[in-house]
């Protein structure tokens, strides 16, 4: 019995320890693992966009932007009137997922950095094993992410998007030619900084930049399922249907 316990604990130890040892052996730049939540103290736009000003949109994008009916920003409408794809429970896409006010956990293993988002339990996998982007897949909501380390900074390139998501929560569109570059690193104070560059020759006249900062928290990633939104939509409809209290 005791032998079995020893062998089981050895096996468990190997399972948990080996990624750490391997991570060190392949020289991954920094340990980004942990649960992170948005750390923002600035103006209201930070809750729904990466930049205060609108990105430099082409005519193609401007047309789509004007047709969008977002629930945030100066053109916000009630949920009942929005055409934001997120309210149909489609994934928010990359990098927009960072704008949803829920934490995410980074799990780092050799060859892969995973982001587990509390929002709708989305999983994003960033492959750091040197592979090229896949060419056999259809366009994706969250895109295809590969990354490499430049010192202590994880540099991520994401491509192969569909054109169905918005790049923020105020209705700015993007095309299937979008390319997102992220530089992810720890700040000296322990916070996590994600610098985002968005390139899209169809939607934007030039690349533009944004950033998000996260702070580490001791929370667990819990459940938040988008389809539960129906609860809120029926609640909002009750409010909108108010008839003045007549009996």
């Amino acid at each position: 019995m005791s032998n079995r316990i020893v062998s089981v604990s050895t096996a468990l130890g190997a399972m948990f320890l080996s990624p750490v040892l391997l991570a060190q052996s392949v020289g991954q730049g920094a340990d980004l693992s942990g649960v992170w939540t948005n750390d923002r103290s600035g103006g209201g736009w930070q809750g729904h966009a990466f930049t205060e000003e609108l990105p430099p949109m082409t005519e193609w994008a401007r047309e789509r932007f004007e047709a969008s009916k977002p629930t945030f920003g100066p053109r916000m409408v009630p949920v009942q009137e929005t055409n934001d794809p997120v309210y149909e429970c489609f994934p928010p896409g990359t990098p927009r997922v960072y704008l949803h006010p829920f934490p995410m956990e980074i799990v780092q293993t050799p060859g892969r950095v995973a982001m587990l988002f509390e929002y709708d339990h989305l999983l994003r996998q960033i492959y750091t094993d040197g592979r090229e982007h896949r060419t056999d897949l259809a366009p994706m909501w969250m895109g295809d992410s590969t990354g490499h380390w430049e010192g202590d900074t994880l540099v991520v390139e994401t491509v192969n998007f569909n054109d169905k998501t918005w790049v923020d929560r105020r209705g700015v569109p993007h095309s299937d030619q979008m390319r997102v570059i992220e530089r992810i690193r720890l700040l000296e104070d322990g916070r996590l900084r994600i610098d985002v560059t968005v390139e899209d020759p169809i939607a934007f006249t030039e690349p533009w930049n944004g950033q998000r900062t996260y702070r580490r928290v001791d929370w667990d990633i819990e459940e938040f399922i988008c389809m539960d939104n129906v609860n809120f939509e029926s609640f909002e409809q009750e409010v909108l249907d108010y008839d003045g209290g007549s009996e």
């Binding site: 939540t37 103006g43 209201g44 930070q46 809750g47 729904h48 977002p70 629930t71 945030f72 920003g73 916000m76 409408v77 009630p78 949920v79 929005t82 949803h100 006010p101 829920f102 509390e118 929560r169 929370w219 819990e222 459940e223 938040f224 399922i225 539960d228 939104n229 609860n231 809120f232 609640f235 909002e236 009750e238 409010v239 909108l240 108010y242 003045g244 209290g245």
Partner: protein
């Protein structure tokens, strides 16, 4: 009471600077962010559900008529870890009949509904907002 209304108004000015997204992840076009209303009554329903926690309370108006007000908050997980509240909330926090004070932005169409900024229980404990 007057003090509280004044304080609530000041709070509303304060949160107005950060506007949308402080509590809600849905936007808040239905509500008037520039106005704050306070009502006190007894809890009729408490729904600790995604995506927004809902509180309903029976409030007696100046004419003696009982009106059921509703109030919406953020998601249960954010309240349970006190991410946007002053205490850790839980699913059994309120029972029907509990005294409660709700302070928030009213519905633009006059419906008895608030986007909650503050919730105070019958003991006067501030459960959210007011900081």
């Amino acid at each position: 009471m007057n003090d509280r209304i004044v304080r609530a108004f000041i709070v509303s000015l304060g949160v107005g600077l950060v506007s949308t997204g402080v509590f809600a992840h849905h936007g808040a076009a239905v509500y008037d962010n520039d106005t704050t209303v306070e009502v006190a009554g007894k809890v009729t329903r408490f729904e600790f559900v995604n995506p927004h926690v809902l509180i309903y309370a029976a409030v007696t108006d100046a004419d003696g008529k009982v009106v059921e007000w509703s109030g919406e908050l953020t998601s249960p997980n954010r309240l349970a870890r006190a991410q946007r509240s002053t205490v850790k909330w839980h699913k059994d926090m309120f029972q029907p009949g509990d005294d409660i004070t709700l302070i928030g932005n009213p519905a633009r169409n006059g419906a008895p509904s608030l986007r909650l900024r503050e919730v105070i229980d019958g003991d006067g404990t501030q459960l959210i907002g007011g900081s």
